[in-house]
């Protein structure tokens, strides 16, 4: 075992002290002796000096051994404890140190263990709290996106650059009105995460609204929102309400700062039309009636002259008759329109007719304990109803049938009837008098002991509908018939799309609040921060220069490092030539499938709009780009965006791999293949591959678009030309 230098020094000092003590004792004795005694002592000790030295040596050895034992206990042990404590300090999991030595040392060891245990406990607690907090945040995000999806109002949230951070499905449907190519991209080129809202709304108009908000905030308004009305290209009126998104912290200096804005959109075309109708009716009532009355009054005054000629008398009488007819016509008009325009004040909702019938059947069965069957239902009917009160009315009528006429079975039937739908509640057997029906119609609806302030008549009138009772004597049947309003085509479309799409996440990305792309060139931006349009084409063959054509295009977007699976572009294209059977075997697209599809000239402008402000990404991009470039002259659409090729960039990352085929890459990255050799499926896989290549490139120092393009150019594959 190696001796500590400090221990050696201590030992040497102890040896010197012992030697000094021996010498001093001898010198003291020497001075107390008489001269003759000194001579005698000299004679006695002189030959025995060696013995004296040996005695010192033995004593020194004993002292050294003692010192060493003490050193080990009071210096080495604490040092070891220190090392163990340091290990404990760095440890991530629970650990204990094992202290030996003196009582104090053991106590110290235990105290350190207790401290460590306490720290571990706190650490676990902290970790648990962090997990819980992030779970809560995630839950809140999910709740928010669910809420947004279900909202009946259209909502779009933008950052100050006008980039969209969040939108709901209804907003997408509404802004589709602004699309120049609604049937091709359905507004996906306009509304999407990271896209600019200025593609939809005039920049000046939005800037003006923002300025308004700013002024209101400066004045200290509690809710500084503003609104404007704009028209869509198809002539729809959209009311846009704008409110600021303020940073969470309430910093006194930042009181008028905001990080973005919320737009709430409302299609007010129908309100506007209804208001115009109301205006016209009102005009008819006031000015029209005044004119008629004026003519009648004047004619009547003339008839009052005793000396009036007979032919003039007849003329004035005719004026009276004509104006009377005009007045009553006006009143008839008013009554007819008022049921649609003036009275329908209940918020009616679009609802699939068959859903209403199913709900009615269930409710009547539960409440009346009778079996109800569904006779015939027109599945295509979309109603505009207040379903709750309508179901109440149906259930109430059924309950009276059961209670007062002991009806056992009932049936429901829903059919179209011109501009309306007719919903019948049918029963067999007893038919009551018209007076009875009248009472049922006008009585407040009762359910057990509970009586509602509403009558069946109220419900029917608020729907602008009608209801009556009919008998079919031959079939020994009777029924109540409800005439109900139908939803308009636009409402129906929106309701269908809302119910079909599973509108969830991906509709928001609040990280974009932080992003500002103003003034920075694409080339110097980080690959991880760019927006991409990843696309793929299916073609009739491999030689674009020899007349092969695109037959399908699929494209997906990557924004802020996330693949947006819900913002996609997929389109079959009529190649206007035969599709060779050999190619059909690969992509599965046959001649029959492209019949009636748009030609490439109509599709490329849509793709171009979809890919605006993004970098294009494709696997073996040179091939797809060649097809696009050959169409430049005929379509007038040129893709000047930067292009990245996952095949080339894979070769940059893995220079020693033999294959850089999409399947091989997907397998290497553990990506599940879906719909291989459909344009959309391949575009999605390519996007997944690209997302995994970005960090690998970054590890090689390739971080910006410029670096990636240079690296791609330098690879061997870049020299292949199609």
């Amino acid at each position: 075992m190696r001796l500590d230098r400090r221990l050696l020094l201590v030992m040497a000092a102890a040896g010197l002290v012992m030697a000094g003590w021996l010498g001093a004792t001898l010198a003291l004795l020497w001075f107390t002796l008489e001269p003759d005694q000194r001579e005698l002592a000299g004679k006695l000790l002189g030959p025995r000096l060696a013995l004296l030295g040996m005695s010192w040596a033995v004593a020194f050895a004993l002292a050294a051994a003692g010192l060493r034992a003490l050193w080990r206990t009071y210096v080495n042990r604490p040092a070891r404890l220190l090392e163990e404590t340091r290990v404990l300090l760095a440890a991530t999991g629970a650990q204990q140190l094992n202290a030996r030595g003196s009582r104090e040392m053991r106590a110290l060891g235990e105290a350190i263990n207790a401290l460590a245990a306490q720290r571990d406990l706190l650490r676990e607690d902290m970790a648990r709290q962090v997990t819980q907090a992030s779970q809560r945040v995630q839950q809140e995000k999910n709740r928010l996106s669910a809420l947004m999806a279900e909202l009946t109002q259209s909502v779009v949230v933008c950052n100050l650059d006008g980039r969209i951070l969040l939108y709901n499905n209804r907003a997408r449907l509404q802004l589709r009105e602004f699309s120049q190519m609604p049937e091709l991209v359905a507004g996906a080129e306009l509304i999407g995460i990271g896209r600019s809202i200025y593609a939809v709304f005039d920049r000046q108009m939005v800037a003006h609204a923002l300025e308004n908000i700013h002024q209101r905030m400066v004045r200290g308004a509690a809710s500084p929102s503003t609104q404007f009305v704009t028209t869509t290209p198809s002539g729809q009126l959209l009311r846009v309400q704008m409110a600021p998104v303020r940073p969470g912290k309430t910093d006194a200096d930042d009181i008028d700062a905001f990080s973005g804005f919320v737009l709430m959109l409302d299609n007010v075309t129908r309100n506007f039309e209804q208001e115009s109708l109301r205006d016209r009716l009102l005009y008819g009532l006031t000015e029209g009636s005044r004119s008629s009355l004026a003519s009648m009054q004047a004619a009547l005054d003339m008839l009052g002259y005793a000396d009036i000629e007979p032919e003039m008398r007849e003329r004035f009488m005719r004026v009276l008759r004509e104006e009377l007819t005009a007045m009553s016509g006006r009143i008839t008009d008013l009554v007819q329109h008022s049921t649609q325009g003036l009275k329908t004040r209940w918020p009616l909702e679009e609802m699939l007719g068959s859903d209403l019938v199913t709900a009615a059947r269930r409710q009547i069965e539960v409440y009346c304990a009778r079996s109800v069957t569904v006779d015939s239902v027109d599945e295509s009917l979309w109603l505009k109803v207040e379903s709750f009160s309508l179901l109440q009315a149906l259930t109430y009528l059924s309950s009276r049938l059961v209670d007062e006429f002991e009806v056992k079975f009932m049936r429901l039937r829903l059919q179209a009837a011109g501009p309306r739908a007719q919903l019948d509640l049918i029963w067999t057997g007893h038919a009551m008098s018209t007076e009875t029906v009248m009472t049922w119609e006008m009585d407040p609806m009762r359910f057990g002991a509970e009586s509602l302030p509403l009558t069946v008549r109220d419900v029917v009138e608020r729907h602008g509908g009608e209801m009556w009772f009919e008998r079919e004597r031959v079939r020994h049947e009777a029924f109540f018939r409800f005439l109900l309003p139908l939803a308009t085509a636009q409402e129906r479309l929106e309701a269908t799309e809302l119910s079909q799409s599973d509108s969830r996440p991906e509709y928001y990305d609040f990280d974009l609040f932080q992003t500002s792309t103003q003034g920075s060139e694409l080339d110097d931006q980080l690959l991880s921060e760019l927006s991409y349009t990843v696309f793929d084409t299916e073609t009739t063959g491999l030689n674009p220069s020899d007349g092969d054509e695109i037959i399908q295009i699929g494209a997906a977007r990557i924004v802020n490092g996330k693949l947006l699976r819900q913002e996609t572009f997929e389109q079959l294209v009529d190649p206007q030539r035969l599709i060779p059977t050999a190619s059909s075997e690969i992509h599965g697209i046959t001649q029959a499938m492209v019949v009636g599809k748009p030609a490439i000239g109509a599709v490329l402008p849509a793709l171009h709009a979809f890919a605006r402000d993004t970098v294009l990404v494709a696997h073996n991009a040179a091939f797809d780009m060649k097809f696009l470039q050959l169409k430049e002259a005929s379509t007038g659409v040129a893709f000047h965006q930067p292009v990245l090729d996952t095949l080339l960039l894979s070769a940059v990352v893995h220079p020693n791999q033999e294959s850089h085929q999409l399947e091989t890459l997907a397998e290497g990255f553990n990506i599940t293949l879906q719909g291989r050799h459909t344009a959309m499926g391949d575009a999605i896989v390519t996007a997944e591959v690209w997302l995994r290549l970005i960090p690998l490139l970054a590890a090689m120092g390739i971080r910006t678009l410029r670096q990636a393009r240079q690296a791609a150019q330098e690879t061997y594959y870049a020299r292949l030309k199609y």
Partner: protein, 124 residues
């Protein structure tokens, strides 16, 4: 010579009564069915008074009134506006544009005759 009155209204059923009434009162009556025709008749016949309906096709009564007042040579022409709107804003506008008086439809013919007589200085 009797005073000349132009009745400008697109409603034939009121025009026939007004024409009959004013002729009985001894005025010479012209008729116009729209604003443009009214201006033509005014320029040609130089009536002493125009019974001018506000809501007329081609040119409204307001426009006709404005055009008449803008013409130096027609300063003596009296204008009595007839309006079915009955809103005070219309009255204010008509007065501002230079109408001498106004009546809201429906009106009593006696009152009309009185107003016409007053505007024309009491004599047919």
């Amino acid at each position: 010579m009797s005073k000349k009155i132009l009745v400008a209204d697109d409603e034939p059923n009121i025009v026939i009564s007004l024409e009959y009434l004013l002729k009985r009162e001894g005025y010479s009556v012209q008729v116009a069915r729209d604003g443009k025709e009214a201006l033509d008749v005014i320029a040609r016949e130089r009536p002493d008074l125009v019974l001018l309906d506000v809501m007329m096709p081609i040119k409204t009564g307001f426009e006709v009134c404005q055009a008449v007042r803008a013409n130096e040579g027609l300063q003596g022409t009296k204008i009595l506006m007839l309006t079915a709107k009955g809103r005070d804003t219309d009255v204010a506008k008509g007065t501002a544009l230079g109408a001498d008086d106004y009546m809201t439809k429906p009106f009593s013919t006696r009152e009309l005759v009185e107003k016409v007589a007053k505007l024309l200085g009491g004599l047919p």
